[in-house]
């Protein structure tokens, strides 16, 4: 098949103009065959993904899942097909199937109804002739029940909707849920309606916005916010019990790992860290280096879909150079030399331990998340010499990345990289080595913990001066350490119990909860991060272990 025909077909499938393709298909039998084969792939992809909908993590193990609405989906659903096909458009109102407690108006079991309200702890189950059932919870009101419409004005209901040709529309004060055959829960609050889908698919609309909510997902219609489908697993994380761990099965990085020289375990195990991309809500892991792993690819764990993605492919290695043949940075143990620069939507990367016997990586790189491109920034100013064991932290208020350098006093210093000016400024000759830095955004403090030390610098008021806060983590280097802005706590983890630092009293609290993962032998670095959107900490310790979450109590 020629390239231009491929492009024409692709354009057509993407919804573009078609005249040239029409002429080609009408005159070229081979082109017609290719077009039909492409159509078939197009249609089959749709079928495969609809089958797997609600199970986003399963692409690598595509399996037949429950289909959302369709009848003809599986032979075992044959009776559903017949019911769906024969009944088609429902023509009758629901009847009361069971009652518990008080309802208004007074109704009897078996009675056809169009309005009902459960009072106090009252409950009611209604059933349509096609088998669709509605279970009304306490304090719930449904009005103007029609064959294809349910108006829910208050409370909550669970529904099992028999597949139908015309959708059943659940109307609430905040939006409509269009149901094509599924199981769902709807709850009306004062300012919002929450939809949970346990089987099938539901379209939730609010104003001109609509979202398809698949099995295992939920969405909320409220205010001016466009409704968005989120996984119930993510909700489970959000609602994790205080001071508890959660391991998320099926979230090992290994299945998406690249094949490059060495063992991809080095991506984490080889003294490497990560950043939290707050714009896309994902943990971005970059590491390797030394003699452990030579692949320089970048990985991301999406905290919405809860799956790993390899953002880039390994580059060809140039022996002895910190730059690969394709102009990207060579793999390295990234230590704490990574930071997410939120206002520029880029990952800052400096220093570390390079793959092979290359020189110390002293070039400052940024990784642009929009186009997955690396840039050698070549900043001006007083550049840090860089070495292993340094730390970095981004301050959104000043748009600077703070860099703590150490190992030997001769090259020690606290530096600031002014992102917008692309310039380094050296502030002090302080000494940093094997600490992890966290930015207390409320106070403007760069707090550093690890290797038996705990200290801070005020990085917003005048010259930053080292404040000794005591000793911590004696014997533990490169811990996970991040700031929970919601609870105003600095939280550390390096295996075993979670340690919580009060930034005012500077007192530690130790939370020894079961379920913590096995720590990475050489340090956790930035792979322990506070996730504001979920109000939890996320940590990943090994490409062969699941992603873990920890919810800090109030």
């Amino acid at each position: 098949m020629t390239d231009d025909l491929q492009l024409l077909i692709s354009d057509y499938l993407n919804g573009e103009e078609v005249d040239a393709l029409r002429d080609r298909l009408a005159s070229d039998p081979k082109a017609l065959t290719e077009f039909v084969l492409a159509l078939d792939v197009h249609g089959e992809l749709r079928k495969i993904f609809l089958e797997g909908k609600g199970n986003a993590a399963a692409l690598k193990e595509i399996r037949l899942a429950k289909r959302w609405r369709w009848v003809a989906a599986a032979a075992v659903a044959a009776t559903a097909l017949v019911a769906w096909a024969l009944l088609g458009r429902s023509t009758s109102l629901p009847r009361v199937e069971s009652l518990a407690g008080n309802v208004r108006p007074a109704v009897a079991v078996g009675q056809e109804i169009s309005d009902l309200e459960t009072l106090g702890d009252g409950r009611a189950t209604l059933k349509y002739p096609d088998g669709t059932s509605l279970v009304l919870g306490p304090g719930t009101r449904v009005r103007e029940l029609a064959p294809n419409r349910v108006s829910l004005t208050r409370g909550s209901l669970a529904a099992e909707v028999t597949p139908r040709a015309d959708p059943l529309v659940f109307s609430t004060p905040h939006g409509d849920a269009k149901v094509l055959g599924t199981s769902l829960k709807l709850a009306v609050e004062k300012a919002s309606t929450r939809l949970e889908v346990t089987e099938g698919r539901v379209r939730l609309t609010r104003g001109g916005d609509a979202v398809d909510v698949a099995a295992g997902h939920f969405a909320v219609a409220a205010g001016d916010v466009k409704p968005e489908a989120k996984t119930l697993v993510a909700e489970r994380i959000r609602r994790l019990a205080p001071n508890a761990w959660l391991a998320l099965p099926g979230t090992k990085l290994r299945p998406v790992a690249a094949k490059a020289k060495g063992d991809p375990r080095g991506v984490m195990e080889s003294w490497s860290g990560a950043v939290l991309d707050t714009r896309r809500n994902r943990l971005v892991v970059w590491g390797g280096g030394h003699t452990n792993y030579y692949g320089n690819e970048v990985y991301a764990f999406d905290l919405a879909s809860l799956r790993w993605e390899r953002l880039t492919e390994p580059s060809p290695v140039t022996a002895g150079s910190q730059v690969c043949a394709d102009g990207t940075p060579s793999a390295r143990g990234t230590y704490n030399g990574l930071a997410y620069v939120a206002h520029a939507d880029r990952m800052f990367a400096l220093g570390g331990d390079p793959a092979g016997s290359g020189p110390t990586p002293d070039l400052l790189w940024t990784f642009d998340f929009a186009d997955h491109a690396w840039e050698n920034r070549q900043p001006s100013g007083d550049r840090p010499p860089t070495w292993v064991g340094a730390l970095s932290a981004y301050d959104p208020a000043t748009r600077k990345v703070w860099w703590g350098e150490g190992r030997s006093p001769g090259i020690a210093g606290l530096y600031a990289y002014e992102v917008d000016a692309n310039r380094w400024v050296k502030h002090t000759a302080d000494f940093f080595y094997y600490q992890t830095g966290a930015l207390d955004t409320r106070r403007g403090l760069l707090v550093c913990a690890g290797d038996g030390k705990l200290f801070a610098h005020d990085v917003r008021k005048g010259a930053p001066i080292r404040q000794a806060w005591g000793e911590a983590f004696v014997g533990i280097s490169n811990p996970g350490f991040d700031y929970d802005a919601k609870k105003d706590r600095l939280v550390a983890w390096a295996g075993g119990p979670v340690r919580v630092l009060h930034p005012e009293t500077r007192a530690w609290t130790v939370i020894d909860a079961p379920g913590a993962p096995k720590p990475t032998p050489n340090g956790i670095f930035g792979r322990w991060r506070y996730v504001p959107s979920l109000d939890v900490f996320v940590v990943v310790t090994d490409i062969d272990d699941d992603v873990h979450f920890f919810k800090l109590g109030d």
Binding site: N14, R22, I62, D212, E309, E313
Partner: protein, 169 residues
């Protein structure tokens, strides 16, 4: 389940993928196409008693699908299509010609999908799982529209090439 119901289901399931592909030749919006497929399934069942078993089921089903597409067009649903008149007949003919070959290709596609490069997976998933428009995918992934088009183009080509290679071995 009655014998005719079983028979219908068997025949429909064997034709479902070709029907979906044929509808997608006319209708580019994935959700609209899926609705049309459902509507076609319903009509096929309602008219199944009229079906002559001596005729190929797929040919009969494609004819019904075509009528449903035309009906939807009258209601203003499908949007632009390149498939009219002779070209429509050519595509139907091609589907019938490839009828015995396509099921194996579809099986192979599932296998090939497992090996799709990870960098393409999210774009493909958003497009096919959610029916997300290309501009919305671009916005969500922070990519340009052109980059999304290229990714989808390359992903489909990679899958077709993979299937083609496996068919020939």
């Amino acid at each position: 389940m009655a014998a005719d119901q079983r028979e219908y289901l068997k025949r429909f399931l064997s034709a479902e993928s070709s029907l979906r592909g044929y509808i997608l030749a006319h209708v580019r919006e994935l959700d609209v196409a899926e609705d049309l497929l459902q509507q076609t399934a319903l009509v096929l069942w309602q008219k199944f008693a009229q079906y002559d078993p001596a005729r190929p089921f797929l040919a009969w089903a494609l004819g019904i699908a075509r009528l449903e597409i035309l009906n939807a067009a009258k209601r203003g649903r499908p949007g632009r299509s390149l498939v009219e008149g002779d070209l429509d007949r050519l595509i139907v003919g091609e589907y019938l010609r490839l009828e015995s070959e396509l099921p194996r290709r579809r099986q192979l596609l599932r296998h090939c999908l497992k090996h799709l490069p990870a960098s393409m997976v999210e774009t493909v998933r958003l497009r096919y799982e959610h029916g997300t428009r290309l501009d919305q995918i671009a916005s969500r992934l922070g990519k340009s529209l052109a980059a999304v088009k290229v990714t989808l183009h390359r992903a489909r080509l990679a899958l077709q090439d993979c299937v083609r290679m496996k068919v020939s071995t």
